[in-house]
């Protein structure tokens, strides 16, 4: 863990921990009505002593909304990305390792999915399953799977051609052991990087779904929903977009730094 003790590692780790803490603790500590209470006399207020980060078009406190939104946004993004990694890993590894017909069939399938914009795909799936939280996660998870599967396949293809894989085969290693001992550890670094980037896109994808009425349902708060709602007031109340936008940006920054460091920590070559 010594490798986390770099400036980048420490900033990344603290940001991620802080945001996680907020996401977990906010719903327990902040009464829900603080974030949903509308004050019609205090609409679109700029940040002030009364309203720490200002208010939105319905006079709700942006501070509380962004705090409570962390939970929804991170849970959806985290679960969706985890799902796409779990789906993408077997798809990509089987394609890249076995190649041939299996690869052709699986990758044409993936290409088909890739040919739809991810959001449109998520939208279709979400519309089919119905708008609720688990379905939003499934929709985004499936929509993101082709990207990960593609990257994982490429990496698996590269690693499968490394001499150490041939050496292991010559030493009598079977396919399952080969994948677990040799392929998987060596393809992890780019997957970690891709997964952290995907988290950011997943937060935004959730926003897109929410905007179309298929993601998070009001009055529940999410960062995506907040960004979408701010759209009409950008010129008169830019903070309504900046506050949730900054939350997303900080999360992505923290995750990227954390992911980079995690990759270095896992790689014995950088010790």
């Amino acid at each position: 863990m010594k490798r986390f003790l770099t400036p980048k590692g420490l900033i990344g780790l603290s940001l991620v921990l802080a945001i996680l803490l907020i996401a977990i603790l906010a719903p327990l500590l902040i009464p829900a009505d603080l974030a949903t209470r509308m004050t019609m006399t205090a609409r679109l207020r700029p940040p002030s002593a009364d309203y720490l980060l200002g208010t939105d078009q319905l006079g709700r406190s942006l501070f509380y909304r962004v705090m409570l939104g962390a939970n929804t946004s991170l849970m959806i993004a985290g679960a969706a990305v985890a799902m796409s990694v779990l789906l993408g890993l077997p798809l990509g590894i089987i394609s890249g390792y076995y190649r041939g017909h299996v690869d052709n069939v699986l990758m044409r399938l993936v290409d088909t999915l890739l040919s739809f914009p991810a959001l449109l795909l998520a939208l279709t799936i979400s519309a089919m399953l119905g708008p609720n939280l688990p379905n939003t996660i499934i929709a985004i998870g499936i929509a993101f799977t082709p990207f990960l599967a593609r990257i994982i396949r490429g990496e698996a293809l590269r690693v499968a051609q490394m001499p150490y894989v041939e050496a292991a085969r010559a030493a009598g290693t079977n396919d399952l052991q080969m994948i677990l001992r040799h392929i998987l550890p060596n393809i992890m670094p780019p997957i970690i990087v891709q997964a952290t980037i995907s988290l950011a896109f997943a937060i935004l994808a959730e926003a897109g779904l929410s905007f179309l009425g298929l993601g998070t349902q009001p009055p529940q708060s999410s960062w995506g929903l907040m960004i979408q709602a701010s759209r009409d007031y950008l010129d008169i109340a830019p903070w309504t977009a900046l506050v949730p936008g900054a939350a997303v940006a900080l999360t992505v920054l923290g995750l990227n730094m954390f992911g980079d460091t995690l990759r270095d920590v896992l790689d014995p070559r950088t010790k």
Partner: protein
């Protein structure tokens, strides 16, 4: 030889002993994440006009850093010249200070007064431009020639480096040329502005030995015809012996010794130079000896006596018998990716290997030697043929049986950096074959792995380390430990020492020979290096275009080569002895034809004449 010497003296005296290049107390530092690393320190030497100076050293010796500093190219790799002076005598007669020259002046010098050629001819040519474009660009920039004049000159240059069909080459792209031709183009580019100094950084390391011989002869000729000085960077003492007027020996960023080529080879003063020279196998030095012999290692205890290196023991059992092995790779083409042709990688190859002996397959790139080794282990599938190992036809085994059979046949790969998984501890990698075959487990497994480390002379403290913490030679020892873990009978060593420095190569070769003596291993030794093969083999098969063209006891093949290809191969190998120079003016070897044949092409079978007992030569078709 005499001729060459007087010539050097001539050119030297003509220029009133003013050095072309003088390097004094050069120090280059690199900024890395772990602080400042010194690349070279206290390096001083000079190059006289018309002279070839070879800078020789093993990896990490700083030889490339030195040559890059001379062009100030080292800055592009993150280096800084922090001390010393580099002076270059310009065509105008003015002595310039390279260290403090500004960018504009350096650009004027680079490629104009100092030409440079690199190791990898494919990467130093731009793949998207034709040869003509690449050649004429430099001419137009540095010489201000018109398109027409530049084109005419490019053609002249290609002729001067003796490229066949130069007119056609101008219109071709780099990938359409062979490696040797590409290096000729690179040399032509470097020669375009008639530089006063040519820096050649390992120009032949990536090339086959016959092409190397041609390129070395070409550089030598250009040097003599144009009175150009050459700074030749290499790791290969044999090349040094063939090329150098003077030699600078480097080790870990310092100059160890410098002197004339004769002095360095005949009376080396420094211990390191002597060790380096001792470790180089010289082709022909095994003349009259029937059995393999360990390499000399200076400084180590006197050559360990390796016992059962007895001459060809006719009574020994045959371990591996390969019959009519043929391997083809499909060439896919067209919209439907159908097979349109076949690469005939291995063509009707037969040989047998006895218990406890080494059979070497030797040949140039693409001759099929590696494919042959891989086919035998079934890492690739052969097309036809039989592979009898210990009474079992390996080609007939099903997946489970094959996995079991792999206990008895293991492989050592060329690149010790790539053949170990960077994410696993060394002990786990050596234990892998033992685990795969459930041979042992737990405490016993740990003991066995530790003993294997002892056996290959690696400290036990390495057990828990990762590959990147080891040097190339140490990694290759790990790979050897892994290969002998299951007590196999056959080990295929595919260029197992090619990537190693010469002193390390000698140690690893001795380790292999020791293991053979102790464990009765049989080696199928695949190599392009004739001198190494001569040292380690009991029998030799020379491969060319997928076939074995000559097969027999090592002594017979090396001392009495019969096939024309074997002969030209022997002629092309540079010898680490300046008294045996072979820089023939018109060295010209036949290019190797393509091994790609249309579908359904059935080449005729290999037929051999037995010219001496056990010595077979392919009958010309």
């Amino acid at each position: 030889m005499l001729d060459r010497k007087s010539e050097t003296l001539n050119t030297a005296s003509n220029h009133s002993a003013q050095p072309l290049v003088s390097v004094e107390n050069l120090r280059v530092e690199f900024d890395t994440d772990d602080g400042i690393v010194v690349g070279v320190e206290n390096v001083s030497f000079s190059i006289m006009p018309g002279e070839t100076v070879c800078v020789v050293g093993e990896s990490g010796s700083g030889k490339s850093v030195t040559s890059l500093s001379l062009m100030r190219l080292v800055e592009f790799g993150g280096g800084r010249i922090t001390k010393g002076s580099l002076r270059f005598n310009r065509a105008s007669g003015e002595m310039m200070d390279v260290v403090h020259a500004d960018t504009a002046l350096m650009q004027e010098i680079r490629g104009n007064e100092i030409g440079m050629i690199f190791q990898e001819p494919m990467t130093s040519l731009n793949p998207v431009f034709t040869i003509e474009r690449q050649l004429t660009d430099g001419l137009r920039i540095h010489k201000g020639l018109s398109q027409e004049a530049a084109r005419a000159m490019a053609l002249e240059l290609l002729k001067s480096v003796r490229i066949p069909e130069p007119e056609r080459r101008l219109k071709q792209y780099p990938h359409e040329l062979s490696g040797g031709m590409r290096q000729r183009v690179v040399i032509a580019m470097a020669m375009a502005c008639e530089p006063r100094l040519l820096i050649a950084d390992e120009p032949t390391t990536a090339l086959d030995v016959t092409i190397q011989a041609e390129i070395l002869a070409l550089i030598d000729r250009l040097k003599r015809e144009n009175g150009m000085a050459v700074l030749f960077i290499t790791h290969d003492m044999a090349v040094v012996a063939q090329m150098a007027d003077r030699v600078v020996v480097m080790y870990r960023g310092n100059v160890v010794e410098q002197g004339t080529v004769d002095q360095i080879f005949e009376t080396p003063r420094e211990e390191y130079t002597r060790a380096l020279l001792a470790a180089v196998p010289k082709l022909g030095e095994m003349r009259g000896k029937a059995a393999p012999e360990p390499m000399r290692i200076l400084g180590a205890e006197p050559t360990p006596p390796i016992q059962p290196s007895v001459a060809q023991d006719l009574d020994r059992e045959v371990l591996l018998n390969v019959k009519n092995l043929t391997t083809r790779f499909p060439v896919k083409g067209g919209v439907l990716r159908r097979t349109v042709a076949n690469v005939h990688a291995v063509e009707d190859v037969s040989f047998s290997l006895k218990v406890g002996e080494t059979l070497s397959l030797v040949g140039e790139t693409g001759c099929g030697k590696s494919s042959c080794g891989r086919s035998i282990l079934r890492l690739i599938e052969a097309y036809t043929g039989e592979i009898w190992l210990d009474g079992q036809d390996i080609r007939k085994l099903g997946a489970t049986e094959l996995r079991q059979a792999r206990r008895n046949m293991q492989m050592i790969f060329q690149d010790p950096f790539a053949s170990l998984n960077p994410f696993r501890r060394l002990q786990d990698q050596v234990a892998e074959p033992l685990l795969n075959f459930h041979l042992t487990s737990g405490r016993e497994l740990e003991d066995r792995v530790a003993h294997l480390f002892d056996r290959v002379e690696l400290p036990r403290s390495f057990l828990r380390r990762y590959p990147h913490e080891l040097s190339g030679g140490q990694r290759q020892r790990v790979a050897i430990a892994r290969a002998i873990a299951t007590n196999p009978k056959l080990i295929v060593a595919d260029e197992a020492v090619s990537a190693l420095d010469v002193s390390v190569q000698a140690q690893v070769l001795n380790l292999l020979m020791e293991l053979q003596a102790d464990l009765g291993l049989s080696f199928l030794f695949i190599s392009h290096d004739m001198a190494v093969v001569e040292r380690v083999s009991h029998s030799v098969g020379v491969m060319y275009l997928g076939r074995i063209v000559e097969l027999g006891p090592r002594q017979a093949v090396f001392e009495d080569p019969r096939h024309p290809y074997t002969k030209s191969l022997m002629l092309a190998v540079p010898i680490a002895d300046p008294r045996q120079r072979r820089m023939h003016e018109n060295l010209k070897f036949k290019p190797v034809p393509s091994p790609i044949f249309p579908l359904g092409h059935e080449p005729e079978r290999s037929a051999y004449d037995e010219v001496a007992p056990g010595h077979y030569v392919l009958r010309p078709s």
